[in-house]
Symmetry: none
Subunit: 513 residues, 2 copies
Amino acid sequence: MYTATSLNLTRPVCDMATPVETFAWQPLDRTAGDLEGQLYRSFRDRILDGTMPAGQRLPSSRHLAIALGIARSTVVQVYERLKADGYLLAQAGSATRVAAIAAELLPLAPSPTPGLSEPADPPEPARLFAPGMPDLTDFPHASWARYLGARARSLRIHDLGYGEADGLPALREAILDHVAKTRGIFARPEQVLIAPSTRAAINLMSHVLMRPGDAEGNVAWMEEPGYATAQALLRAAGARIVPVPCDEAGIDVSRASGPPPRLIYVTPSHQYPTGTTMSLQRRLALLDVAQAHAAVVIEDDYDSEFQYGSRPIAALQGIDRTGLVAYLGTFSKIFAPGVRVAYAIVPLRLLEEVSAALQLQGSVVPIHIQAALADFMRDGRLRGYIRKMKALYAARMAASVAALQRHCCDILRIGEGAGGLQLATWFRDPHVDDSAVAQHLQANGFAMQPMSRFHLGPARPGLVFGIARVAPAHVEADVARLAALLKSCGGQSLAPGSRETLAVSTCHGLPQG
Amino acid sequence: MYTATSLNLTRPVCDMATPVETFAWQPLDRTAGDLEGQLYRSFRDRILDGTMPAGQRLPSSRHLAIALGIARSTVVQVYERLKADGYLLAQAGSATRVAAIAAELLPLAPSPTPGLSEPADPPEPARLFAPGMPDLTDFPHASWARYLGARARSLRIHDLGYGEADGLPALREAILDHVAKTRGIFARPEQVLIAPSTRAAINLMSHVLMRPGDAEGNVAWMEEPGYATAQALLRAAGARIVPVPCDEAGIDVSRASGPPPRLIYVTPSHQYPTGTTMSLQRRLALLDVAQAHAAVVIEDDYDSEFQYGSRPIAALQGIDRTGLVAYLGTFSKIFAPGVRVAYAIVPLRLLEEVSAALQLQGSVVPIHIQAALADFMRDGRLRGYIRKMKALYAARMAASVAALQRHCCDILRIGEGAGGLQLATWFRDPHVDDSAVAQHLQANGFAMQPMSRFHLGPARPGLVFGIARVAPAHVEADVARLAALLKSCGGQSLAPGSRETLAVSTCHGLPQG
């Protein structure tokens, strides 16, 4: 037990002068460096486990240094440290002794010494069509490095302090400027709050909107299928999740059942994971329902910049006139996930509360990153990079869709691919076990995710493709191989004879009904 | 405005070779040390306020060194720093000149963002003795910028992805290496989790440890007085706070009453805000109690590096043999708050759960900052900076303590000031309303915080001083003025006649009882 008995100096447990050789057990490893630390831990452990009993006299630093063949100053330092920490007692003019504190300590196994052996990266297997990651091959390392370096040099002392937890004003303005132009956002700069990730922003909003102990009222409507992480975050904040069906026009609030929501989480630009765009009718219906229930809508606009062909439909936030919509954006897809910047544009009536929660939770972004990103945006660099990547992604999406139509049309119904970095597909056979198929494909280098993974209720089986890192030159061959695998792996349920929906004339579109 | 107009070299504002004597105004204080910093600031301020106009030629480093009677290398360093920061221009073969950036400067220092309408900072009022902030005057901007820039250039594509939510392995190892040596921490690198702030780390731990709906069991013991933000975070996670009294030896768990804890939050190195160090006896008693209740101890070691005189006592985590202690550290005090890096070293048995919560909440730190900081630590740069700042802080603490003893000893009992960036004092008169006094002082440029602010229950009134940004040359005069204010402001309750405790013979120490 960790009981603290004080050392009885009048009757020490052991008062004999201990020969210095007794201390030459120290298992010092000269090649490992930090002899002082090694010696310190060695003494400490022996004092704690009772090998060196209370009252035991230590040899002089000079004698021990000679016995161990190390510098005397090292021994002096170790003794000082052990005294400062209470393991040794020293009184002027008398010998250094072990203090009595450790006598009754439990001899429990200590944590292992830091090994500092970073596990080598396993060779990354081919992960064709893995969703979630943008392509970072053309990330502008050199110019981003210049911006970061320049900002790190020019930051004032004042900037390096705790600053505003809400974020750097310059970045909040640059973001607002960007989304006002590209997404039709209406807000003031102070409504833009900076966070390290969309997850952190959802977490923040959930904790502000969910009330502890109000199990009845803490209802969140979520898209079905939808973003599982958002569901997990809301659940952790105490929400009851009510799945609301999505079709080709997005979430259909007229089909929602159950208790009224306090929060509705949606991905209107590119529904996650189906990629469909919410129609204007559905947007207005959603805002109507939210207003009726005084619910807050979280609009997660994670990759709306990548819209191919048509101009992206403006954000829900911009058509909301009642201050119900909190808009979330991120730099993970349009710049790089590792930069770790996202933001929430919060309705004015919630601003004070959300800002206070952000301040309290300390989920903040380094000033250097914020300042450099603000400059990078102001100088049009981000716009240029997005433009470049959008053209690449459009070509990859088109190549993927075309190849899938050529090779897999009899097995899969294929989403439109009008935007975003994901492409949804559905098995024509509704009895396919998409998890099992995905697992089989995984073993063959394909990394699509099964559609059932995004469902709370029963799922129409399908596969979600990531197209960001597709190589157009190889996509034809990859998809041909995929088709062969799909035809072989499914057994009966994927065999042509069992297909129920071959009558559908197009390869495109979400499953009906 | 810091509009970056490039210097028009064909029509320099001032092209005369300025005689070196003109620069002999530098008010260098040789006794204060850091001549380089003094000279740098002196030039910088004159460039910013227009005393040295754009285009002005500087004397050669050799001539200026002779004129000022200092080493030439010092002048060279200062010139390099001013060039790196953009105050000076130099082209090969021509003289060093003042850059044009300062031409349209407001008398206030606005942000240097080009073309950005960032509102100018209001002039910061003198906030003498404000606690909480380290001194960032000597922050190594140039070398940190080099590390950041170099890392931003060399990061691989793979690094820019979502990465490990737990943090970059290289940084986790560098941190562990540092705290193993300086704080006696025992852990494996994978136990080190990176977070953007201590607040985020406390928030994370609270959400893992508190169980929704278990109002009875969600008990957290906190130091009294203690860190109000930690209390607020725990409360937000559903904890019932039980204050446990602290005295000169730290938290006294034998005086705890009420239900058993699930979590105990402590600041053993420098108790916040009293600055006292928890004794070894108390540490062992605390671990005993934690073990008996299977409670987790959160050890917040926020500024233990700054220990003056004696060697810092090793961390609680290192003597814990039962895996009960979660150790929190931060770079806010030893580097800069704006860098936004902190960490938690989590007991193995909690690791999986805490890591999953961190991953879910997305409270993550940009890869560029993590990678640059790992390099900065590995190269010993952080160690060097800490060493330098520790010497400065030690001098400031000593000067503050000495001045307070001379001028305020009859009104205040003064803490030891053995470490940290705060100095606690208590009014000898226990009836003083410290909030009212602090408010009155605030109006006169003093920013100490009232001790009552750190108490949940009744407080012994006092003032908490921040010493990090004290100017030793002015502290005597500042404290004399403070003493006069204290004597005038308190009215009856501060008048000598009402002092009950003048019999106490020393100025030092916490209030007894």
